[in-house]
Amino acid sequence: MKVINIDQKKWTKGIDTLGSSYKLIGPVAEKDFHTFEILQQGQLPDMSFTNTRLSPKEVVFPQSEDMFVYSLDQNDEDCNILKEAPKDYSPRVVLGIRPCDARAMRLVKLNFDTEQYKDPYWLRLYEATTFVGLACDQPCATCFCTSTGCGPYHEEGLDILLAKDGDGFKAKVLTDKGRQLAEASGWTDTADDGGAFENARRAAEAGITSKVATDRLRQMDTLELYGADFWEDVSFACINCGTCTYLCPTCWCFDIQDEVHGKKGKRMRNWDSCMFPIFTVHTTGHNPRGTKLHRVRQRFMHKLKYFVDKYDQGIMCVGCGRCVQQCPVNIDIRRVCDLMNSYGSENACAAQG
């Protein structure tokens, strides 16, 4: 297979060159963990990271973003009329996004890019972004990407896939966007790798030892699963914080808020979470998901059943393991997925005799 060799010198130089035509975003070491941040001139992404604490979904779906601006001054001609908020959609590149997080963007796209409606904010940022992925050669114990239709060298949603090679990288260009970026950065040194890339992929996939079964979710009856007896046990520990949803690369729920300061106002959107009681509460006070059990069940049913049924593209989870690692009370999606996937199977076997 033809790959592009990028040694350390070319890497540094290429990134420096890219800075003039792209906004650069990459992993940066914080106090205890890495986050994706805008890189300053001369700053290199820290490619030694395992994965970031927060997913890079913020690159295309900021936690808080402006939608519209307006004037509330009666003397203004366009008082009370909403105008598009000024936004920056200039080209940008995410360096070092993990394949799971890139695939997550494709899953989220199903929500924001529909036949009937297109979410302009998400889509414009997505289109403005080139995704340079970094293959995972050392997965965590909580990684179960290979069970979710993804993998440590998965290419979906990426424009370039990098794999570590000594202190440099081997690169596989996957799209036109990727080609443009490779040219702009001067990463053009193509050579045959003698199958090394493929071998590394196989080795990395074999390194993912955590597995979940999802094969029966589709055929499962929604209401039976909804009424399953394990939800009380699963949800008991939950404290209904938003950690799992905010860290998740595939969670997309949001809230729309107006904020006024003096005579100027803006309509903005912020991440929201199905874990919060106020997410669904009606003005009357009635809450269709009024208990913790309702909300925990909603999160898992959405990811592992409703989404599966709605799009037929597998589960709404890429196996990044962030929620498993950071849940304050250790609610583990792998355990819940297994409970759901195997629900009623004993009876089914009994029925078959």
């Binding site: 939608m67 519209f68 307006y70 509330l72 008082c79 009370n80 009329i81 909403l82 598009e84 929500n111 924001f112 529909t114 009937q116 409606y117 297109k118 979410d119 302009p120 889509l123 414009r124 929604t222 209401l223 909804y226 997309w252 729920c253 949001f254 809230d255 729309i256 808020q257 107006d258 006024v260 106002g265 309509r267 959107r269 929201d272 199905c274 997410f279 669904t280 509460v281 009606h282 003005t283 009357t284 009635h286 269709p288 998901r289 309702h294 909603q298 049913m301 959405h302 059943k305 409703y306 989404f307 049924d309 709605k310």
Partner: protein, 281 residues
């Protein structure tokens, strides 16, 4: 790329206080730009997001009918932040409308059928839209018998009273108005809750008859067995759901009932479809 979150600017043309408790007002809205009105092409049963700069948005069923041109009407209950502010607004004020949103009563399927409409309280808005649509001379021949059962707590709480009285007098629609209680000795319509009045007045269900039901949860709960008793199949009972919404276009995620989103896949569902989803509304 068209921005589906951007409301069309509209002017409040007229405000009518509908009920004696003054908590329900009907707002007649006129588009500031003619081309927006043309884009806002709706069917009876759809809703829209009413947008007030600085306050937010609120999803409200469209009470005007597609056969009424030049304006939109929304009947709004004063309840939360946005609706309370809306109630304080005056004729001539500028606000926004985003839509039309959601699906509609399945008019294509309902052609040639008898229609029973059951409504309660202030959930009569899209039902009004539907009645006006069906009674339009161009449309009336497309439908069989039309029966309407509409109830409110008291006579003073009925919406669209003038129209109700007009419809009641017509012979191409059977309107059964009812109130829970009244001390008006001259009240000449029914007294009683919607479910028993439906049982007394509504036609039997058959394969050519559909019921459209919209009302408070308690009314729906007790009307459902009545309709079953009258022989209505769950596929023939059509309902409009409400849930907390923000985006109205199926993206923000909060109004889901199972895999269906009330804002985009609904708000109109058959009872049969609702029975297949978790009851999270």
């Amino acid at each position: 790329m068209q921005n589906p979150y951007l409301p069309y600017p509209v002017r409040i043309d007229e405000i009518v206080v509908e009920t004696e408790d003054k908590n329900l007002k009907t707002f007649k809205l006129v588009f500031l730009n003619k081309e927006d009105e043309e884009k806002f092409n709706y069917k009876a049963g759809q809703f829209a997001e009413l947008s007030i700069a600085g306050k937010g948005e609120i999803p409200i069923g469209i009470a005007s009918s597609p056969v009424e041109k030049g304006f939109l009407k929304f009947t709004v209950n004063r309840a939360g932040v946005v609706t309370t502010h809306l109630h304080s607004m005056k004729e001539g004020d500028i606000m926004g409308v985003r839509g039309p949103l959601g699906n509609w009563y399945p008019w294509e399927m309902l052609e040639g059928k008898n229609i029973l409409i059951v409504g309660g309280g202030f959930a009569f808005t899209t039902l009004r839209s539907s009645i006006v649509y069906m009674l339009h001379p161009d449309n009336r021949p497309k439908f069989g018998n039309i029966d309407v059962v509409y109830g409110a707590r008291t006579p003073g709480m009925l919406l669209y009273k003038d129209e109700l009285i007009q419809w009641e007098k017509r012979d191409d629609i059977n309107v059964h108005i009812t109130v829970d209680t009244t001390d008006d000795p001259d009240w000449k319509y029914n007294v009683g809750f919607v479910p028993p009045i439906t049982e007394q007045k509504a036609p039997q269900g058959d394969e050519n008859t559909y019921a459209i039901v919209c009302g408070p949860p308690i009314m729906i709960k007790f009307t459902q067995p009545v309709l079953e008793k009258l022989g209505y199949d769950h596929e023939h009972i059509i309902m409009s759901l409400e849930n907390r919404m923000k985006c109205g276009i199926g993206m923000c995620g909060r109004c889901g009932i199972g895999k269906e989103l009330v804002c985009k896949d609904g708000p109109v569902f058959t009872l049969a479809a609702i029975n297949r989803t978790p009851r999270e509304y």
